[in-house]
């Protein structure tokens, strides 16, 4: 019976032991190492390195690759956020109507969310190269006759298109769930009062959607700032580095250039950016909470 007494007293420690150990070994230790490496000149190839203070951080801000990458990443993130919210709400409104066959449309519109992002990137790469480009040539449309992702001017848009093609599905699910939670009585009251479509949207649907908007905003922002899979598969960061996200830049510096220390410093900067926008977002969404 002594064992039973032990379990009954210390059971919470036993129940949390495994996840706690895992988090310490495979999350907190590497996290600390990441911070430490960012102050070193470690290449990743040797076992020794020197501490170089904040040199890596100073170098970042005069690194043309970093500056171009942060510009691209911010634009891409803004595109993703705006696209997911605007298109997401528009599609959710369409799918919320009681029309025949709406179930089938929903099935189709949600499907992109479950496809592997890397597979999708590979598919669209082929599609842009061998499908759209010949088509553009055939139709005599100049900007289309070259692969969208091979041209610096259009690669951004090609990438954003594919990102939204997949990325809008989950926001639609979230917005639709919120629209469906609006009580029928409220809609009826509005229509009795003679509210038109826009008034209904502005005064009834939008307030119900606002918690969902802040969720989608956070998700889209994190997805944009850390984007890797799609870009790695679709453009590889090119042409001439114009679509290299911060996530990809960290990978390239670490594993292609063997600059573990410097890449770690960029990762920490990325972390700080995400932390700042998260704090701003959480604080400002509190003000609007219903």
């Amino acid at each position: 019976m002594r064992e039973k007494g032990f379990v009954n007293r210390y059971w919470p420690y036993l129940f949390i032991l495994v996840p706690l150990l895992l988090q310490i070994v495979f999350f907190f230790i590497p996290l600390a190492q990441g911070v430490i490496y960012s102050f070193t000149d470690w290449t990743g190839l040797t076992s020794s390195y020197n501490f170089i203070g904040i040199d890596n951080y100073l170098a970042i801000f005069s690194d043309a690759k970093f500056l171009s990458s942060i510009g691209f990443t911010l634009l891409f993130t803004i595109g993703l956020v705006v696209g997911q919210i605007v298109l997401g709400i528009a599609i959710a409104l369409l799918l919320n109507q009681k029309i025949k066959g709406v179930g089938l449309f929903r099935t189709a519109y949600f499907f992109p969310a479950v496809i592997s992002t890397v597979t999708l990137g590979l598919i669209f790469k082929q599609f842009f190269n061998y499908g759209l480009a010949p088509l553009g040539e055939f139709l005599g449309i100049e900007w289309l006759s070259q692969s969208l992702i091979a041209n610096e001017g259009t690669a951004f848009w090609g990438l954003l298109f594919v990102a939204l093609w997949q990325g809008v599905a989950i926001p639609v699910v979230i917005f639709l769930a919120n629209l469906q939670s609006i009580p029928n009585e409220i809609r009826e009251a509005a229509s009795i009062d003679g509210a038109n479509r826009w008034q209904t949207f502005k005064s009834i649907e939008l307030p119900f959607l606002s918690p969902a908007i802040s969720i989608v905003l956070i998700l889209a922002m994190k997805a944009g700032l850390t984007a890797f899979d799609l870009i790695y598969a679709l453009t590889g960061g090119g042409p001439s580095g114009s679509t290299t996200s911060l996530g990809l830049l960290v990978y390239n510096y670490a594993f292609k250039n063997n600059q573990f220390g410097y890449a770690s410093a960029i990762a920490i900067v990325l972390f700080i950016i995400i932390a700042i926008v998260s704090v701003i977002q959480i604080n400002s969404s509190k003000k609007f909470e219903v």
Binding site: V7, N8, P12, F15, I16, V18, P19, L20, L22, Q23, F26, F27, P30, L31, Q33, Y37, G44, I91, L94, L95, Q97, I99, T107, A108, Y109, F110, F111, V114, I115, S116, T117, V118, T119, L122, I123, F124, K125, Q126, F127, P134, W165, I170, V173, A177, I215, L219, L225, F228, D229, G247, V250, Y251, A254, F255, F260, A267, I268, L270, F271, I274
Partner: protein, 275 residues
Amino acid sequence: MKKDKIHIPTYVFLTVGLVLIALPMYLTVLNSFKETRQITGGFFELPDPFTLENFQRLLDDGVVQYFANSMTITIASIALIILIVPMAAYALARTMPRNRVFQGIYIMLIIGIFVPFQVIMIPITSMMSDLGLSSKLGLIILYLTYAVPQSLFLYAGYVKTVIPKELDEAAAIDGSGKFNTYFKIIFPMMKPMHATVLILNALWIWNDFLLPLLLLNRDESTWTLPLFQFNYQGQYFSDFGPSFASYVVGIVSILIVYLFFQRHIIDGMANGSVK
């Protein structure tokens, strides 16, 4: 009559979107049945001649092995997540209100939600390599670890709001030990949350690319399906018929799962995103 008015534009918009979604899928399947030279020359044409050679080549190149790797890794990770995480969530949900130590541990376990993977990417890659864990086993351990923050958060919220404490007390009075209470009473009551956690993590793990790239790229026999697809496209740079077949395998397998469990998957995505 008023209702009919809004129908037509709705259908028009929805159909345009439907075509936009279906077209890349349709073209992928279509091109997988063509010879490579027809893919470059006639991307939108029907296969002429119709060929299954791409799929034959895919089988010869070991697609079954990569598919099996993905399955093993996904199933093993999910089983471990469901075994380990709800237990901890239950313990924390019960102890946190009265105990500051457990409040601190809870925060430690969920803080990972806010940290971008890039921050630990470099150290974890070299650590796993040093430990000899650049393998399927190592990958499963990492999936379990990185599933903890979100899954624990979801489970703990569920226990707090849905499973009353009086239930534990009644069980204790009946002489049920803690492990018994948990496995016989609490665990089955978490069923809706098991579904959500299972779906969210299964989709993430099955589709993930970066962790397999970091851990498994050196050893071809351990590749997962997405990693194989990526490397396959690079390998057959100019002869990409088989690549199309590899996309079809990926898309069709997930489509079948999606059509069977659509309701659960959509609910899971909706629940999981609400942080």
